[in-house]
């Protein structure tokens, strides 16, 4: 593609290999969450990671706190006999520097009660700062914005 005077659509899109790594990281990350593996899911955050949502007054800070909070959440769901599936897609990924990437994406949540019918439970957008750590991607900062909130 030729560069023109016009502003680029994205500042610094990541290369194809990095993009594929990030998409796979997210797929695995969402599988862990929906399989109720809260601690393994939380390992996808840096130790000082932050998880913010527009529906919560304060962000959750630190991997251990994020894990404990999600553990309570998935246990609550189990008690209600409900299965949720987080689908993350439409990922835009721009490089910030050699070791960090900023992403934006949509996340849709499907919910199915035991013996019941599936439905769309929630539609959100997400913004992450991902960093390379120990040869893998981790989330340093996540902001989830619930649609309609």
């Amino acid at each position: 593609m030729t560069q023109t005077e016009a502003a680029p659509v994205t500042a610094a899109p990541v290369d194809a290999e990095t993009y594929a790594q990030i998409v796979q990281f997210y797929s695995h990350h969402m599988q862990l969450l929906d399989n109720a593996e809260a601690e393994e899911w939380a390992d996808g955050f840096t130790e000082d990671g932050v998880f913010a949502q527009n529906v919560k007054p304060e962000p959750t800070r630190g991997r251990d706190t994020i894990a404990a909070s999600m553990r309570r959440g998935v246990d609550r769901l189990k008690g209600r006999d409900v299965v949720r599936r987080h689908w993350l897609s439409m990922v835009v990924a721009d490089r910030v520097d050699a070791d960090s990437v900023r992403t934006k994406y949509y996340a849709v949540v499907f919910e199915t009660p035991a013996g019941g019918k599936a439905s769309v439970y929630l539609s959100t957008t997400g913004e992450d700062t991902l960093v390379r750590e120990d040869g893998r991607w981790r989330i340093r900062h996540r902001l989830i914005n619930h649609d309609g909130a």
């Binding site: 610094a12 290999e17 990095t18 594929a20 990281f25 797929s27 599936r85 019918k117």
Partner: protein, 212 residues
């Protein structure tokens, strides 16, 4: 999986940060392989949604096994067994479902997402591969060159004629894919419905009338 060399740096400005991909974490596929498998599922899902079952059949190996973990009590006259062995049985079950859907004048779209893949090298897979002797996919000693184990979510959207679409079903898929004649094919699929009772995993004994 082998790390990729990484793409060339975008542009030639000396100030641009390096954009070469770092080494992937274990279990992370190179971009080309991941894209290939994504496209395989896109094609397979479209063939089923369009009811093109002769071609859909060829996305399974001749000796493929298709297991379903679905809600008990949804038994339907003429329903296929929950474990379908062999391409012919798999396609026969799908034909029933496609015919019923046509009769109901409903359209179904299968969406696949949250796909992960890893090399299939463990003992369980080797056992499945042993059954594949003679198909040209074996490298010997119970291993299967390039076989993949995949996991994904699948959602079915259904639209009745003239009506509004609805989320019909949410499921989880676990496949073993092998390469045959240059194409990926499913050798083993376990499809688990989200509305199945908890603990049904690993016990594919139930029947589902509606899945095609």
């Amino acid at each position: 999986m082998a790390p990729e060399g990484g793409g060339p740096a975008a542009g030639s400005g000396g100030t641009a940060p390096p954009v070469t991909a770092p080494s992937p974490a274990p279990g992370t596929a190179p971009a080309a392989l991941y894209a290939e498998v994504e496209r395989f599922y896109a094609r397979q899902a479209q063939l089923l949604g369009e009811g093109r079952l002769d071609q859909w059949a060829l996305t399974f190996t001749e000796d493929a096994v298709f297991e379903q973990e679905a809600q008990a009590g949804r038994v339907w006259t003429g329903n296929a067994p929950s474990a379908r062995r062999g391409r012919a049985a798999i396609v026969a079950a799908a034909r029933g479902a496609v015919a019923a859907r046509r009769e109901a004048a409903a359209v179904r779209r299968y969406l696949i997402g949250m796909l992960t893949l890893s090399p299939a090298t463990d003992a369980a897979t080797d056992a499945a591969m042993d059954a594949a002797a003679g198909t040209g996919t074996e490298t010997g000693a119970g291993t299967c060159a390039g076989a993949l184990r995949t996991r994904y979510r699948a959602v079915l959207l259904q639209t009745p004629e003239g009506g509004a679409p609805e989320v019909y079903l949410s499921t989880t898929g676990r496949d073993v894919l092998v390469r045959q004649d240059g194409d990926w094919r499913v050798r083993h699929r376990i499809n688990s419905h989200d509305n199945a009772p908890a603990g049904s995993a690993g016990a594919p004994t139930r029947k589902d009338p509606d899945h095609g």
